[in-house]
Symmetry: C2
Subunit: 323 residues, 2 copies
């Protein structure tokens, strides 16, 4: 099990980083055991879903910390393990992502078609209801297929020798973190804090380079997906920053809240893209395509709203006028 | 021509109201002459468009003032003229409304498909571009047809004996306003100010009864058109309030700005409805229907943005989080 947290002011860099990495490795192994006991049924709710989430989270925390604090560990070992953990967590994430995307799109369709409390939707809502049921069925078919494929890929990955090598490496990490003998003896303030500062600087630079948001003359159209990648990169860098602060025992509620906005940003952007993809299905009815168009625009507006939320939480800027 | 403005503190109610009504009647007659010289070609830009706008504005100002200050005029005469002016201004408004709606939808489609400066739209934008050209052609066909019909209706109205009776009544108004002999001799503060206050009270009550806006839990979905009518009624009452204040010589820049937001609200709501109607055209291609769906959702978000703008301008409430 993880050692109790050490006082960072008294402990050296290796103690603090080692404690964090061992705790995350232990969480990884426990979640892996729970996940295997879940029978790999693909059910994302309940214990198996929780275990898969913890597994992904621990893998991201280990790989993020190994990136930020690379020089404090045996670098060659850290680079290898990090690469493998990035592969693993992205493989594990796919199945969950397809399931979450379907839920998001179904919720949006339900909202767009009017709630069941509202009697007989009038005017435009009626036309939308006709198409939205068929749009929902189409999305369900396409995303369930994608999810099934991702589930097979996950099972294949978890049975591979590549995965067993990762699990073995994490098991080693849980008892003994391979550290750089000189850097690990330095003080936390001299070694870990400046490295965490560099991760924060990279994040700040990426945030400063983001295009403007929300209704300004210079802001890109909310329907323009070309800028999404900049936000996805900020999301990645924010996570690395958050895990570095977590390793130092700092409060991470603000990066966590900002990260939630960027998670919503990513989810909405991918849901919008899924809706556009479904609309390109040959021989669909016009009413289905219409509902998918409304859904696409709706999710792009959610993208915009998530960007505004991120600005508010992270930059503490007041909300600007929505366009 | 209109008399010079009188000092409301010195003048009696009949003087102030009479001056305003005579000025508006004169503007009406001048715009009518310009409109007839324009040859009724239906061109909405340039001098003819400006004359039609002035004609509608003067008709609304006269009918609004006759409603608010009914008791200061000969009531039976005021009621008759008011009914006829409401008929006239709504008839005249249709042609302009269809033209403006088409312009709004074409601008939105252009924005949605990406600006020409952006090279080769990627991903979802590509699919949208395919359908948006066809959606644009469909909307142009439908709204041009509606506009042509409205133009014929306008020409028919302007040639009718009903219209000539209205024009004659306004010509009488331009020289001599039929006033109630007792009320018109009262002081402005005792007669006109309380009546204008009643118009403002009606407006405030309608504003207070509006459903919440923008992202709150209790706010209706932006796609739900059921609440539009409440906003359209506030727009009507705001105009009546504005013209009453104008008659009293007060500054109306704030109601004018709030009215602009509600004009945008109305325009976006009707553009969204036109997009939904176009999507119900039989045998359209799915790509066309998809673009119309995006357009519908886009215009409903413009509806939402206009509501937030109205709140900001009129209630001076801070913008709330967009959903």
């Amino acid at each position: 099990m993880a050692q109790p947290n050490l006082d960072p002011t008294a402990a050296d860099a290796g103690d603090v980083l080692g404690t964090y990495l061992r705790a995350q490795a232990t969480a990884f192994l426990r979640a892996l055991r729970l996940h295997e006991e879940g029978g790999g049924t693909g059910a994302d709710g309940g214990a198996a879903g929780g275990a898969a989430r913890t597994l992904r989270g621990a893998a991201r925390r280990i790989s993020g910390s190994l990136a930020t604090f690379r020089g404090v560990t045996e670098s060659a070992w850290a680079d290898r393990l990090r690469t493998e953990l990035v592969w693993l967590s992205s493989t594990l994430a796919d199945e969950h992502a397809y399931a979450a995307r379907l839920t998001r799109l179904m919720d949006a369709l339900h909202r767009l078609s009017g709630s069941p409390e509202v009697p007989a939707p009038r005017g435009t809502a009626g036309a939308l209801t006709v198409g939205s049921a068929r749009a929902g069925a189409l999305l369900e078919r396409q995303l369930t297929l994608a999810r099934t494929r991702a589930h097979s890929a996950t099972l294949q990955a978890l049975g591979s020798s590549r995965f067993h090598a990762v699990a073995d490496a994490v098991a080693v990490l849980a008892s003994e973190v391979p550290l750089d003998s000189i850097a690990a003896r330095g003080r936390v303030a001299d070694v870990l804090v400046p490295l965490a500062g560099m991760a924060e600087t990279r994040l700040s630079a990426a945030v400063a380079a983001l295009p403007p948001v929300g209704g300004r003359e210079t802001a890109p159209s909310p329907y323009d997906a070309d800028h999404d990648a900049h936000w996805h990169e900020v999301r990645r860098l924010l996570r690395v920053h958050r895990y570095a602060r977590e390793a130092l025992g700092e409060d991470v509620s603000r990066p966590a809240a900002a990260g939630e906005a960027l998670d919503r940003h990513r989810d909405a952007a991918e849901a919008a893209a899924a809706s556009a993809t479904a609309a390109r299905t040959p021989r669909i009815a016009p009413a289905t395509a219409y509902a998918l168009g409304v859904l696409h625009a709706d999710q792009r507006h959610e993208v915009e709203a998530a960007r505004l939320d991120f600005h508010r939480v992270w930059l503490r800027e007041p909300a600007v006028t929505p366009r």
